[in-house]
């Protein structure tokens, strides 16, 4: 793959750190998901099958647990909550990446891009709030 010429500091930092950030969070969430799934299918295989059947029949999903409660139950070995923690961590990958860019652009005083990243961050947060109340 051809290499690009030396980049401005801002771009260089983004290209070095963004892949590291993405890969690290992806690996962490993958490990949590694997642990949760393994516990789910080994602790109560019957319940796992019953849940999949309920999903297939279109049964209503669980009401949303507060995220703090979910982390607490996950820490106590509840397989479903461990999977939920893994999924939340996975979904936070883009949020973390945008937050990282936001901080970098503030440091570099690149104001148009501070605005763009702030807008994207607020869009992601609005999504969480709308999901809770909508």
């Amino acid at each position: 793959m051809p290499q690009l010429p030396p980049l401005e500091d801002e771009d260089r930092i983004l290209r070095v750190w963004t892949p590291i950030l993405l890969r690290t969070i992806l690996i962490i969430s993958g490990i949590i998901l694997l642990i949760g799934l393994a516990l789910m299918v080994t602790q109560s295989p019957g319940a796992y099958v019953a849940r999949v059947r309920a999903i297939q029949s279109g049964q209503r999903m669980y009401e949303p647990d507060p995220w703090l409660k979910m982390f607490n139950l996950g820490m106590h070995g509840d397989p479903r909550q461990i999977v939920m923690v893994g999924l939340v961590v996975l979904t936070l990958v883009p949020l973390a990446r945008v937050a990282f860019c936001f901080i970098l652009f503030i440091r570099e005083r690149d104001w148009p891009f501070v605005f763009f990243t702030a807008y994207v961050l607020s869009g992601l947060i609005v999504g969480i709030i709308l999901g809770r109340i909508g």
Partner: protein
């Protein structure tokens, strides 16, 4: 139990693999696979797919960003449009009936099939318009003869309008909307195809993430389904991206287009019959 778990992982592996080879992403194949083969209701398949798409985008983006194919600044500007659309789309998905989602999905599959067989060459601009130059959205790319050339970007408003639509489709249908994103960048903004494909892949993570956060906050994420699907799609996509350089994708394009048309027909049939 092993039958269900193995089936889910195998489906997700296949969807991720074909999604990576076709350049359309796993969501386009995982949603119909879950709906048609596993009999999962459409809106739950959408939530499972959105989370998987975040994983595949993050995995595939690592190499593209590191090697300089992703235009990070352009992605950050256009993400404003896709995130807005994705939140709206994910909210709508909770209220639309299954048949409407299936019908829209069928239409999107036809659009993706057309995109797959009609990709054209680049029309590279040496300079962009004043706004994009001021925001430093241009970059450099290697042309067919191996020379490095500068490319400019134009028409942010036109591209952003299509990106809002791509975001809505992503949140609504659980797909990355890569085909729409590449059309916006390649055809409307004149970004070279390789750059627009890598940049689209990068943006898909944030777009799908915005939609996935809405579903997660609503508690409408079937954990028993999502965990094996996310793991399977990610492994499938990573395998696909490793195989990709050794495969002549030109010859596979017709096959992918046929598969997409068949999915469109099946989803359209289900919408018409109210299945």
């Amino acid at each position: 139990m092993l039958e269900i778990l193995g089936g889910l992982i195998a489906l997700a592996l296949g969807a991720g693999f074909v999604g990576a080879l076709s350049g359309l992403g796993g969501g386009v194949f995982i949603v119909p696979a879950l709906v048609i083969l596993m009999h999962v209701p459409m809106y739950l398949a959408i939530s499972a797919s959105l989370i998987s798409v975040v994983a595949t985008s993050a995995g595939a983006s690592v190499a593209f960003v590191r090697d300089g194919w992703t235009n990070l600044r352009l992605a950050m500007v256009l993400e404003c449009a896709t995130v807005t659309g994705a939140v709206v789309g994910a909210m709508l998905a909770g209220y639309l009936p299954n048949w409407a989602l299936e019908l829209i999905f069928a239409l999107m599959m036809l659009q993706s099939a057309y995109f797959t067989i009609s990709k054209k060459g680049d029309q590279i601009l040496p300079r962009g318009d004043p706004l994009t130059e001021r925001l430093k959205l241009g970059g450099e790319v290697t042309d067919e003869s191996g020379h490095r050339i500068r490319y400019g970007v134009k028409n942010i408003p036109g591209g952003a309008a299509l990106m809002v639509l791509a975001g809505i489709m992503s949140g609504l249908l659980g797909i990355g909307s890569g085909a729409l994103k590449v059309i916006a960048m390649d055809y409307v903004m004149h970004v070279p195809l390789k750059i627009s494909s890598a940049t689209s892949n990068f943006m898909i993570g944030v777009t799908a993430g915005a939609g996935a956060l809405v579903f997660l906050s609503r508690g409408e994420v079937p954990t028993s389904l999502v965990a094996p699907v996310a793991i399977g799609v990610t492994v499938g996509a990573l395998t696909g991206s490793l195989v990709l350089p050794h495969v002549n994708t030109q010859s596979l394009r017709i096959l992918f287009a046929v598969i997409l048309v068949l999915i469109a027909v099946e989803m359209g049939w289900r919408a018409a019959m109210g299945i």
